[in-house]
Symmetry: C2
Subunit: 204 residues, 2 copies
DNA sequence: AATGTCAATGACATAATGTCAACGAAATGA
DNA sequence: TCATTTCGTTGACATTATGTCATTGACATT
């Protein structure tokens, strides 16, 4: 049974911190694939085996780095919206899309690496899948409520419609992350995506 | 200057064919990542270096295998539709979606590997990007025509709308490829996707 | 002070890639 | 027919990365 943090414990924490920080730096510089454990431990100034004391492999190390951004996405995902009119829906949807895209753009460097990493590792892809499902769950619930309020036609299957809508957004998000010149057309994309969605569900 | 195929040439052709065939088999069995050159050449019964005579690396070898399926997708992509009424549009869209999904399902084993491979290789991703762009180009042109015929509101940006619509479809396609139990709900998905799209664009 | 614990280490075994000098059978031509 | 050239084929090699593990020694405990 341990009571207080010993110096040894602090030292260990510090080593882990150095590893994460160095990994972050190296991942941003070289991308996911090209980054090696050797580069990371060299930057951190620790021995090779040390990395494996704290992380099972490169993927787990990267997931530790992803966590911060992931958290931000979860927060956006949890913002439910409960419009009472079609006009309200339109405006709220537009805001949520804008937040989602801005979040990605503001974290562009790390999001680029995340994009790499998703392709390279089932483990990391599963991690992103969590975010995706969180969004889809939220949207599904939103559609259900809108249907109960007679704002949306009940012939729409909430789960499938939610997926469709989320996928549209995610693909554009990755595209914004990739490109470097999207400050001008971001708002246009937000408008068009929202128009598509609200035209389908909240008109008619 | 060569005139006729020498025996040597035929032998070389045969070696290349054996490599492609063996690679196909091994890729289906082990997926893209886990397949190694050693496994392929062992199955083909040729020497290690031989693989590198015909293919720069594993990726290029896989692209040779993808080509057949790619061709089929290009064919579906090139089917333009030019509806004169909203009802016609709805029915034609539904058919095209169904064809796209069926094509993927019928080639499920290799499409699973393609999905792996896209994540693992920029070269292969670029190859798939060609198909994607071909679809998007076609859809964009379709929307333009529908707008000229006053079937679709001109506030829709054809390029962005086309991308949104295509992305929706592609994501569901990959999902159908992944899962094994989609014979029952395929038609439901087709209905819902088409409903989403036609509700947004062709209703008013 | 003696003993136990555990963070840290780097050499090793393993595995995959891409290259290349050399082999030898087929093609050429005299 | 035989000598010479061409070129498809080969596997050993150098290279590079991964994950493991026995060992070490500084720190904690008694």
């Amino acid at each position: 049974m341990k009571k207080h943090l010993t110096n040894r414990d602090k030292q260990a924490q510090e080593t882990k911190r150095k590893l994460i920080e160095s990994a972050h730096q190296v991942f941003l510089q070289n991308g996911f694939e090209k980054t090696t454990i050797s580069q990371i431990i060299k930057t951190a100034g620790v021995g090779y085996g040390t990395a494996y004391v704290y992380f099972k492999n490169k993927h787990e190390l990267f997931i530790a780095i992803m966590e911060e951004v992931m958290q931000q996405f979860f927060e956006v995902a949890h913002q439910k919206f409960r419009p009472d009119t079609a006009a309200e829906a339109s405006s709220q949807i537009k805001n949520q899309v804008r937040e989602y895209m801005n979040l990605a753009i503001q974290n562009r460097p790390i999001m680029k690496v995340v994009n790499d990493a998703i392709g390279s590792s089932d483990r990391i892809e599963a991690e992103w899948e969590n975010i995706r499902n969180e969004f889809i769950r939220g949207i599904t619930s939103d559609i259900n409520h809108s249907q109960e309020k007679q704002l949306v036609n009940t012939e729409f299957d909430p789960a499938i419609t939610a997926k469709s809508w989320y996928y549209m957004n995610e693909m554009f998000m990755w595209q914004l992350v990739d490109a470097d010149d999207n400050h001008d057309n971001l708002e246009h994309i937000v408008e068009q995506l929202s128009l598509f969605y609200t035209s389908a569900l909240y008109n008619g």
